[in-house]
Amino acid sequence: MNEMLEITTSNNTKIILNLEDLFKFRGERKNRDYFDKRLGSLLFILGIILLVIPYFWLIYNSRFSFKELWNPTEPGLIISNISIFLIIYGLYLKRDKKVFDSSLHLEDLSDLRKKIKNNAQKVYELENAFSVEVLQILDEVYAKHKDFFLVALSDYMVSVSKEKKLLESRLGLDLKSLKNALLEHFKTKTTSFEVMAAEFFRDLLDKANFIESDYIDEKILLATLIEKYWKEVLREFEITELDIKGFILWLKNEQKNLNYQKKWKRLSKLKPKGPINRAYTSRATPMLDEFGYNLTARIIDRGFSISIGRENEINTLLQTLEQESSAAAIIIGEPGVGKTHFLEYLATRMIIEDVPKELRDSRLVVVDLNKVFAKAGSIDHFKQILQQILEEVVESKSLIIAFEDFSQILSIRTEGRMEIINLVMNMITRYNIKTITTTTLSDYYKYVKPIKTLAALFTPINLNEPSKEVTLQILLDEVKQLEKKHNLTIQVSAVKRIVEFGNEFDFERVMPDKGNRLLEEAVIRAEQNNFKVIDEDLIDELLSEKIGVNVGEIRQDEAIKLRNLEEEMHKRVVGQENAISAVASALRRARAGIISSNRPSCFIFILWSHRSWKN
């Protein structure tokens, strides 16, 4: 085996990995780390005892004085000085190895990513890309099962790894059956380390870069195995590529949250906790304080929120807000699609300073239009309040203003409507107020599009319903909270069923909102019936009630009815053999679930003469 492994990643960067260094402990890395920690603790305690005992001895013999502390002739003091070495060495052995290694070489994967972006140099030596746990796993598996590397690694990840619970909670897999299926699958394949090393490490690096992790940790290892090597096996468990994609997107989101938390820990010491204008440079903003709320401050109090799979949308929004003229955007999306959550995501990024320079020291203030309407006695008063708010925004600067449900202003049915719209437009264009508004698609076409100047002023950003795989991950996040709150277990297959039938019920709402509501209904139903587990059957029952057609497995009485559908229909219709058989087949196909979910179950176009029993 070559000692140095050269890997070319997907962004054409050559990375050199020292395999000898990686596997130098020959399967003993875990034991060695454990031994080091124990020995470190022992030496540390011993050092402390040796440091303290001589002083107690001096105090006990009434010979202690502060002058003696610096007297090196006392044998006890010599011992206590030596003990300093023991303390330092003990702490060194007990150290967090990840921190030490990264400080020694001052480089981890995120530093490497930055280097690759900024530098033309193409070859990097990779020494500290692995977390301690992954190093231990790789070391053990390589030493014991070099020729069946992938099989042993898969087995380890399913049976021993800390992250194996993700397979159950996020993909709904049964670990025992998965393990057996994996062993069966890899029986006939070549999985020796020599053959697959370069590809395997390249995949690991690519995945870590995609997820934006500082280290290749157990989660990255699991994600790589799932996406690259277990795909075919997972298909047997009805886990599609889309499900895997959703899972990896969720992992990326979790990592982003962790990175943000880490950054916030550092930034929070430098960020103001109270009102932003602490240098008393700008005028007071009483109207804005009364009718709006500071979303950035709220996010600091409540915690970060990150939208999954909305990177393109947030980038468009940031580009719009960066513009020097008409920095105004309109977010278009159906109720429940996550418009407010999207605003919270923007606020989170502003706090973390993951935004262009101009927006870093800004605050995001959301104007509560309902409050303005309630307070304003007349339309003139409303206009006056709005003008004052906008003037305050102009004066205070470093502020982004947001109007949720903007169509509330546009749909005012009085003569003053156009005046108000003109006021808003003028203020935004003249002073380039950074504005974000939200509305629904129908309202956008009804109120914004007809006024051409208004439509031209705002950059539209469409928030579509998230894809099925992303919806599943959002709902699984919700499941965690519901399970904790109601002390129930919600199976992943049940959540999958909700996503599967997402297009078939509650047409006024969109996912993930309607999925959430159905989950809450399921929890209430389970509590009423004293169920401890919410499974597919309970969801099927609820879905059947909502859709009006049975969903899920076909019961025996229903099967008989379906089989004899023609006879049942003939009880009411005489003749029409072709039509009845066509309708019955279509209904049977729909019930068996072998039709496209985007098309209607059956479409009948009956064309016949007047009074020919069409009904």
């Binding site: 300093i84 330092i88 060194y92 030490f100 400080s103 550092r266 430098l270 240098a279 440079t281 700008s282």
Partner: protein
């Protein structure tokens, strides 16, 4: 073998002392930030509340100047014990060596 003796020293300064001084710097920034010294210093010539008359400019400069002086003094006094502990961490590995040298000489 040399590694075993040298690495702990290297680790002590590269990790422990470095992270302590980063922590100390962040704490100092926190105190300066909490007392509004930094924003006041940044805006030392900016009049208060956006009123740009000459009288207000003079009053603002006077107020901001003393604010910065007091804020800076207060933060520095608070950070001194931490700084002394930092110095102790810096010399700690050399303490036994100094003592040994004193015994020998």
């Amino acid at each position: 073998m040399l590694d075993i003796f040298l690495k702990p020293f290297y680790w002590w300064y590269a990790v422990i002392v470095r992270s302590y001084f980063i922590y100390l710097f962040l704490n100092y920034s926190f105190y300066l930030n909490k007392t509004d010294t930094i924003p006041m210093f940044k805006n030392i010539f900016v009049p208060l509340f956006g009123r740009k008359g000459i009288t207000n400019r003079i009053i603002s400069l006077f107020l901001r100047f003393w604010w910065v002086v007091f804020g800076f003094t207060f933060s520095t006094v608070l950070i001194i014990p931490m700084f002394l502990f930092g110095i102790l961490l810096l010399i700690l590995p050399f303490l036994p060596i100094i003592q040994t040298y004193r015994i020998v000489t």
